[in-house]
Structure formats: C-alpha cells, structure tokens
Amino acid sequence: MTDGKQVLGSDEVRRAITRMAHEIMERNHGLDGVALIGIQRGGVWLAESLGAEIARVDREIPVGSIDASLYRDDIGIRPVSPGSVSEVNFEIDGAIVVLVDDVLYTGRTVKAALDAITDYGRPSAVQLAVLADRGHRELPIRPDFVGKNLPTSADEQVAATADGIVIS
C-alpha cells in the first residue's frame, strides 16, 4: 500500500466539524427533536464530535449509533461483518434524525442506514451529514452537511478521521 495524500489536516477537520455543527443548528432552529445517529463504524466518532460541539455552543442532544450491515444490499455478494451493536436509546417517532458518516461514496450504506432507522420508528425528517463527499453516487442520495467535497477516482481509498482526511 502506498502512503496516502493528506488533503485535510486535523485542525482543518476540527474547523469543518465546528462549521457543520453550526449549520445543523442553523437549519434546525432550536434543535427541538434533533438527534444525531452515527453509522457504524466510521460515522460514530463524527456523530460524537458533532454532538459535543453542539452541546458546547447550544445544548445537549441525543447521540446514537446504528449498524446497518443487516440491511446492506450486497449481503451474499461481499463479506459482511457487523461493527458494534446499534445504540438508539431515544424515541425515533417524530424526531429529526441527522445521519452521520465519515465518507459518502455510492450512497448504499446510507440507504441501508435509512432502512434500519425506519425499523425503530418514523422520524419526521432525516438529514445527512458527512465529513467527506467523494462522489460516484449510485443512488439518488445527497448530503445536507458536508465537511469537504473531494473529487476522487473509483480506485482510490478515502479515510476520514479526526487526524485528517487521506486519499490513498
């Protein structure tokens, strides 16, 4: 494996998260009924960071995580191994759910996560926050909050963590 190309440093990631947190607050004035749900595994730390930032500026909102592997459309085609157990300890009915993931690519993981959320209840709305949008969508899904738009080719790998965003 070759060393990756760092496109965002940890400071820039932190600033992007701060901006996204503010955008989430701005869009959902008052934050009534808003909850963050990170998609296992990569979206969980980001949901927690966004939740901490929103709590710092405004108030605490529920943060959960969801494992969508049992909803994937490539079961039986590719190996599937679930991450940690889903934790949704709040009411989904009527909530405004902000789904959070590290990298948005084909959109299939988000689709699986949307299906999974529906099994917990009927949110009044679902929004999507991603740290990196690398394009190549295969489904009609678009993010509401984006940390960084990253044009990539399909054979590249994108890793987005608190330490930065790396293309390899």
Binding site: L70, I75, P79, P82, D119, Y120
Partner: protein, 309 residues
Amino acid sequence: MKHFRSVDEAGPEAIRRLLDLADHMAEVSRRPNPKVPALRGKAVCNLFFEDSTRTRLSFETAAKRLSADTMNFSVSSSSVNKGESLRDTIETIGAMGIDAFVIRHKSSGVPWQVAQWTGASVINAGDGWHAHPTQALLDCYTIRSTLNRTGSFDGLKIAIVGDIKHSRVARSDIRAFTMLGADVTLVAPRTLLPPEIDVPVVTELDEVIDKIDVIYLLRLQRERMTESLVPSLREYTARFGLTPERARVLPEHALIMHPGPMNRGVEMAVDPSELPGSVITQQVTNGIAVRMAVLFDLLGSGSDLEANE
C-alpha cells in the same frame, strides 16, 4: 463457515464470532419491529425427525426475523411414513431450492451424512446423544451476558448435573464451556456417566454446590428409570435435584440453568421462578438470537467469499 454441526467442528474462533454476532441479533429482537431484511430470498427447511417444540420454533422465529422463508417438515405427515429413505427426502426437498437444512434426528452423525447429499448448509439441531451445538451456543451466550463474561470464561466454575450419558446437550456444553475457559465438573450417578470423559466428576451434588458459579441441570429422562439406571425418582431428587435446601446453599451470584423441558419435582424440586439466579427463560429468549447469528453467518455473512479471496 458452510455448516454448523458441532462445537468442535466450528472451533473457538467461530464460537466467539457467533457469540459477538448474537449481540447484534439480540438488539434486533428488542426493537419495536424485530425484523431485518438480511436473508431475504433465502429458504430454510426445518427437518425434525424427533419431537421438539422449543428448538423448532426458535429456529423458525430466528429465520423469520432475518426475513428468510421457512419450511417445516414433520415426519408424521410426510412420505417417510410411506418408506421414503432419508437420502431421497433430502434430495427431494433440496430440489425445491433450499439454502439451509436445520435437522434433528435420533441417530448420531446424520447432519454429516445429509451434507453429502445436498449443496445446502446443514445446521445440527440435535443428533442422537452426540451434539446440540446451538443449545451450547445459547447457554454460553446466556452465561456471558448475565455474568458479563464477554472475554472468556476463565476460572468460571460450572457444574453439569444429571444424565450426562444420554445427553447431547451435556456433550456440546462441555466442549463449548471448556473451549471458552470454564472449569466444568460433572455431577451424576455412575450409571448416567459416559465412558469417555475428560473433565472432573463427582457423584454427590452437595460436594460442589456451595462453590459454583453456574449449576446446569439436565432433564432426567423418565425411561432411564425403567432401564434401572436410577433406583427411584425420589432418590434421584434427594441426591441430584435442586431442592429448596440446596438452593439456599448455592452462592448468591450463581446462575441456575436448564435446557428444558423441565421435570418439576425431579431435577427441579424448587420453583425456578422464585430463584433470582434462574435464567431459564433468558435461555429461551437467547436461543433465537444465537440461531439468528448461526443462520446469518452461514447464509449471509459471506465468510466463504472471504476465504476465496
């Protein structure tokens, strides 16, 4: 993994993987809508040549919660009564497009034989006195989740009490518990012990009852009395039954387990619902989660695909 037929065949790595996966399945079962689309389009056939309610229903529920289609085959209403051989039965049902057979049979080794006649996955739901691996899995899962032993069973003292000799549950449990690190002791009269044993044995329950973490009571099959392996039910209860006196001696944190169906007043001479350590109903609930884990691992996880890469 292609088949799940015995604890030993699966091995420690797969047992741990299935227990981890069962956590996910238990979470699914707690939801308002306890169903996921993971095995849509897969067909599971329950093939029970022996009586069973809980195991068959548990497998059926597990398959349905994963959105698989289920078929139930019971011998009493089948062509087996017209003399059809096991092989023909398997090949006939297999021709209908089955992805997994869940099979229970009175003869040991049948799941291995069946696997030679079909391309489908085979899950052993009990073969003779030999093995009942999903029971062992649900027992491990119950211990692990109630005693918070996610890592290993190191140092955990488990007594398995009763008719070890004729029990496939005991055989699978001994293998699984020791595989995870537990110290297993068998408690039984000599007449109910198998010749092959590699764990410590005592012949009086009172010798161990005050120093165990788990007491696992086996069902005394009443026909053993007519075979004169047990002198009388009363004497059996006096020596090996969980009586109110023994329940008081049992350590406070100890779990009381039973695979069911129970003989109240024989091996279970107390009302288990009055004992705080009883996890017998949790065993039944957990049975669904571990069977979902097995079905998903065989039919959906793509672990075979990984092996080919």
